[in-house]
Amino acid sequence: MSEYNFAYLDEDTKRMIRRAILKGIAVPGYQVPFASREMPMPYGWGTGGVQVTAATLVPEDVLKVIDQGADDTTNAVSIRKFFQRTAGIATTERTTEATVIQTRHRIPETPLNEDQILVYQVPIPEPMRFLEPRETETRRIHALADYGLMQVRLYEDIARHGEIATSYAYPVEVAGRYVMDPSPIPKFDNPKLDDCPAIQLFGAGREQRIYALPPYTRVRSLDFDDYPFSASKADHACAICGSATSYLDEVITDDAGGRMYVCSDTDYCARRAEGGA
């Protein structure tokens, strides 16, 4: 088999994707259509994120890939290997060393900086998909910023559950204009979207959409005056590093109801444990 082009995709495709990314950055929160390619992995495994990463990478980049915060899960490992093989770039598990981070469903606990790009894998880019099935209508809603319907979704949550029960993919308003689905990150991570120094790119492969948050963009989670947004997490400390402020996974340890809570961000947890916390 002949050599892969750098980062798998051909240069014309990368150019097309970069155009979509630039447009997305110019219009924060707007879903830019792009000609999503077949990737050597199934839809739902991050084909959108992989294409955005491929179009973003340069040979000097250091790539980190996380899946639910972890560097060592199947999705993260296979995407990291994919780029090691097709781009020959350096990879890392350390958030601080990485220049490009592809993520599924988390934002790293360690604050990002201006030299980094965070690439999200997005299954459903349209925040109103389950309220309004017609794409023609949702596009019109976005175009006219006619977002009453979005608020209805949160109203229904409170009416049914007594609080806003949406705990992930919590809708946000970007720069006072577009309402955006932040991908299925826990709402605990929503405040990290706001005023973030890094570039945040969102790729949805199956849905063929790219959208973006330029650095230091104002991102506000939707809420009601009397039911304000709150970033929630399990009310425990990490069993490994003891952090009381990081997002936790619940791990079932036996059949007798035993469980432990550990950081979902493995790199953050390991650094803290090493540091002798």
Partner: protein
């Protein structure tokens, strides 16, 4: 009419709420409606009757901005800018009008409600679209409106799917009137309901129209409904208005042959 004209002068109303001039819509070679003109004054209910295919629904769609007429003007007296041709408005402006000053009641409540959303959410949608962000107040307003349309406010969290046909229709009316519109378009609001439910709905509509001074363009083929609700009547046939006047006058002394046929076709029980 002399009475109501005097009453209008006392309220110091400068002009009609809605002025329709020569509105026409063609579907290819066929005429949807043609050369329709009328004025609708604040607080007035205008009935539009005619058989199926007479163009009354097309007319209603043209007036309410759902369909673009090929010709004519639809001038609405807006709150902030005075009379404006709604056909020349930008789409955001028209939509804003559609969720504030206008109401549209569909014949089938399924078209006008979100069936997967609770009654409270349905009523509250307009409020939220207009910027309301206080859950408690939105919910209180929704419950108040449920009461006004004779739905038990304890059902505020039930989905419309669990409501009877008459209740769904009343919910649709509440959902539309919650923003305090001045003009309502109604397309056969009592269609498909049995007569006792119809009677209650008509009673309710009559009360609401009087209480909030709503102007209504009411499309129906049911002459009894217009007799009860409408101040004035337009009779349409083949896309044209063939007769118009005070409701009682048109129904009691129809001039046009078709209107005579229409009136005499009503079954007497």
């Amino acid at each position: 009419m002399a009475m109501s004209a005097a009453a209008l002068e006392m309220q110091d109303v400068p002009g009609p709420l809605l002025s329709v001039r020569n509105v026409g819509k063609r579907y290819g070679a066929r005429i949807g409606c043609s050369d329709v003109s009328f004025d609708l004054w604040p607080g007035e209910v205008l009935g539009v009757v005619g058989e199926s295919g007479s163009g009354k629904s097309t007319l209603l769609s043209c007036l309410s901005g759902q369909l673009r007429p090929d010709e004519g003007e639809v001038i609405f007296d807006t709150r902030d800018q005075g009379p404006r041709d709604t056909l020349l408005m930008s789409e955001p402006e028209r939509r804003r009008l559609g969720r504030t000053d206008w109401a549209f009641v569909h014949q089938n409540p399924r078209d006008g409600l979100r069936l997967g959303v609770s009654a409270g959410g349905n009523v509250g949608e307009r409020l939220m679209a207009n910027g309301a962000r206080h859950y408690g107040r939105i919910r209180a307003t929704a419950q108040d409106w449920l009461t006004r349309v004779e739905i038990d406010p304890s059902r505020v969290d039930d989905r419309p799917r669990q409501f009877s046909g008459g209740m769904q229709q009343r919910l649709q009316i509440a959902r539309n009137l919650v923003s305090g519109p001045r003009l309502a378009f109604m397309d056969e609001p009592t269609g498909g309901l049995d007569v006792s439910v119809q009677a209650r709905l008509l009673d309710l509509l009559r009360g609401l129209v009087r209480d909030i001074g709503l102007s209504v363009v009411l499309v129906t083929h049911d002459l009894a409904v217009v007799r009860l609700l409408a101040d004035r009547l337009m009779v349409m046939k083949d896309g044209r208005v063939i007769e118009s006047g005070l409701t009682d006058q048109v129904l009691d002394d129809p001039q046009h042959a078709y209107t005579q046929l229409l009136v005499s076709s009503v079954l007497q029980v």
